[in-house]
Subunit: 266 residues, 2 copies
């Protein structure tokens, strides 16, 4: 997927929160933030006093095609100006010190942002500069702080990765995908009767070849085989393949049996 | 936080999954992956046929101090070799095609990885090269696929950000932080009696200055004021500040009142 094509269809998806990068230093990071925003269905980007000015071609190159987000980004002198038209402002803050403010996890923030935006209100998230993070005056302009649960032994989080986690949680908060599903594409999950049909085929062949000749052990062996094949969903395509495997293995055995008989007889 | 200091204390936290980067192209990305792994408490990194060879100093520079992860990374010729000692292998795959395999969300994968590693088994996750992703042979070596819920209109996910999302979900799966909490640091949430004491102070002063002189409207006005201050948790420190604000505003009014009387009388 080339950069330009990737983002051609990018546009705002409903009312979504504004990402406010406060005094960002590197244009590379701004571009990577735009890419992360696109991944999570975010669109609105505001820059407060970017260190190296704006626009910076490097940002577009790093955005992997999220050009429209950068094209429509606005630049502001102050946090106050960047948030003036918003109803709710959250501030990301890895290490809150001496601040009295609600603190949200990334997931908690995403849920509240969905709720706020769902009511038609405008919300924004402040992200601090690469090294220092937000200062106390920045944070005083926020309704709540957002602190990601991450390894306290290694707190150095890249700016674009901070945006990525939030964008991912924003998207996930509204995504119905189940945690585990079976990907079947053009085939279907087999019914128990279809599975039973295969097990009958397999056991017939195992009886025929003598694998189950120990009659006292036979019920336990059959049960073990059944347990293996019953362990999870089996698709119709897989059952067709397994039928073929059993048939072909049995054919080979029978042919060898005939050859051996012929050799013994010859 | 300087790069070196940030990662000085990095070490494995219990049994954690192995991140396997398959045919990674850019050393920058490998370093950024190590940083993301450190953020999420992951430690074990394996590289399958890195395009530009290994080691690459650029990776260390981009890792923001996660040097130990890179120092201990191993290099392998094939996916089969890289996963040979593992019990479970998941493969990240943004667009599964014609594959019959369980598909997990990032959150579902993290929960299963916690469960697997908690039983003392070794698990690993395959991440494909930057442009092409994993090929079908790579995916055939995995027990399950992992597909993040993300914007289908913009699927171009940076390798380090793919690792970041997984590392974040891995850490979060074992993190007890509540989605919303009040950060109070060195102060405490005020009791209802303390809040009532403040409201009494405020209303006394509002009676004294005449703000509540309209007696028919007084109950509603008092109730509105109460609603505002009762809206959420208030800290003891905030109540002390609010007592001070009311006292000082009232002092100023009284002094002005005296001055006006003196001027009128003089």
């Amino acid at each position: 997927m080339t950069g330009r094509d990737a983002g051609a269809a990018l546009e705002p998806i409903g009312n979504s929160p504004v990402m406010v990068l406060v005094r960002p230093q590197l244009a590379d990071n701004i571009g990577a933030c735009a890419r992360a925003m696109a991944n999570g269905g975010l669109f609105h980007l505001r820059l407060v006093a970017p260190r190296d000015g704006w626009p910076q071609p490097k940002a577009w190159r790093m955005s992997s095609g999220a050009h429209r987000i950068l094209d429509e980004a606005t630049v502001h002198d102050s946090v106050a100006d960047a948030v003036a038209d918003l109803h709710h402002v959250f501030a990301t803050c890895p290490r809150p010190r001496h601040i009295i403010k609600p603190v949200l996890t990334a997931r908690g923030a995403a849920a509240e942002l969905r709720e706020i935006c769902g009511r038609g209100l405008r919300a924004g998230l402040l992200f601090g500069p690469e090294r220092a993070g937000l200062d106390n005056d920045d944070m005083a302009q926020a309704d709540a702080l957002v602190r990601y649960p991450l390894n306290p032994a290694f707190m150095s989080l890249n700016l674009a990765q901070a945006v990525m986690v939030l964008a991912y949680e924003w998207w996930t908060a509204d995504d119905p995908t189940t945690p585990r599903a079976l990907m079947t594409n053009e085939t279907h999950v087999a019914t128990k009767a279809e599975l039973e049909n295969f097990l009958g085929h397999l056991i017939d062949e195992l009886d025929a070849c003598g694998f189950l000749r120990n009659l006292p052990k036979r019920p336990g062996m059959v049960r073990n085989i059944r347990h293996f094949f019953e362990r999870g969903e089996v698709t119709e395509q897989e059952l067709r393949t397994l039928h073929g495997v059993v048939t072909e293995l049995a054919v080979g055995r029978r042919q060898r049996g005939r050859l051996e008989q012929e050799e013994a007889g010859g």
